[in-house]
Symmetry: none
Subunit: 227 residues, 2 copies
């Protein structure tokens, strides 16, 4: 289901928005400050952000600037009473995808929400890999476990890609090497163990007792997204 976060300090408005979004079949929630909003966005990805500009302390512009440093940034519709053209231009140039002036017609806003969500369809979902409390951006070579961020090397990404494609299936080292390294590379099979070691340190709660990258004695390794 599509997830939407509303950052709006007018609680009545926020509630109205959330209710209507839910009525549209979307998963919506709201917070009343930019700081809270960013905290929520860091916890887990959202598909769309409805953002007020005039917030206490941290402004909507600040939130826009901060978005790019998130693991996955949502699409953004700014919803603001500020109707000066300069504000619209600034918000859009800071990365907002749309700008709706208050007061707005509800059905128009919902249509704009649909238009933004429509873009998501195939956008980068192939890039994202999510299981348990781990998120991976294969394109950015980055992995987040809870709040901890790790960098991934090219080969680590290839291995994750391979495991994700064949969950719960034991993969032989030889197979892993062929798929991740390619046809023309022949490293020792023990090299795979080293990469498993590195990956476990990044994705397991307790790398010594792996629950996602499990050893299949004599048969290689198996990836269990569920744990």
């Amino acid at each position: 289901m599509r997830t939407i976060l509303v950052i709006e300090d007018d609680l009545a408005l926020a509630r109205g928005l959330v209710d209507n979004l839910r009525f549209e079949g979307l998963e919506a929630s709201s917070v009343s400050s930019g700081e809270e909003g960013l905290a929520r966005l860091r916890e887990r990805p959202f598909d769309l952000l409805l953002l007020d500009l005039m917030l206490p302390s941290m402004s909507g512009f600040d939130v826009l600037r901060a978005l790019s440093s998130l693991p996955t940034s949502p699409r953004v519709i700014v919803v603001s009473a500020r109707d000066a053209e300069a504000d619209v231009v600034r918000a859009l140039d800071l990365g907002a995808h749309d700008y709706v002036k208050k007061p707005f017609g509800l059905s128009e806003l919902l249509a704009r929400v649909r238009a933004q969500l429509r873009e998501l369809l195939g956008e980068t979902l192939a890039d994202e890999l999510v299981f348990a409390d781990v998120r991976v951006s294969l394109k950015r070579f980055r992995l987040w476990k809870g709040k901890k961020e790790s960098l991934l090397s090219h080969l680590e990404v290839e291995m994750l890609r391979l495991f994700a494609a064949r969950p719960d299936e034991p993969l032989k080292r030889s197979e892993i090497i062929r798929q991740a390294w390619g046809e023309d590379a022949y490293p020792s099979e023990r090299t795979v163990d080293n990469f498993i070691l590195k990956l476990r340190k990044k994705i397991e709660d307790d790398p010594a007792r792996p629950r996602h990258l499990v050893t299949e004695f004599g048969h290689g390794y198996r990836f269990c997204p569920a744990g």
Copy 2:
């Protein structure tokens, strides 16, 4: 260069739009009916379509419906005097990406054009680029870090433009060369390193420990506006 088609039967307005879009560095042209527009779109792809709703014979809604049958459909901003909410909803649900009501502010429309074009892979069109204590005017080839002003060369600007459009994403040297140098130039990939070096001297507090133009070992470079 980005290509834009304007479908607008008010010739004065169409001409004004085209002029302003060209002034922004875009390749713009206009036609005055939906039929002509579709013919042009069938001839060759456009990146963006500015579409009036009230056209003679074939309406803007009809154009929207016809777009999906094109080999490559452009992004669409509807520009219309019809301000009924129902029209906005209908246009957006028919696939329009944005809807601007006449009369509109020119700078807002241009910002919305930039926002749409930004979604296409490639370079940002905004002139001002701001992050941390750095401000860049891409059109004037100037960069300010705090109070220090630097001049930028053509290629430095192109690289910044490219990085700005894809924040936090590692860009391969080959990709940087293709986008910033163009299709027909083939400098050594190490040339990119030299430009990174120059840019770091201009935008980093400590060029030896870059926080904005970060090396992604084996993958190229990544631009982190947030630092």
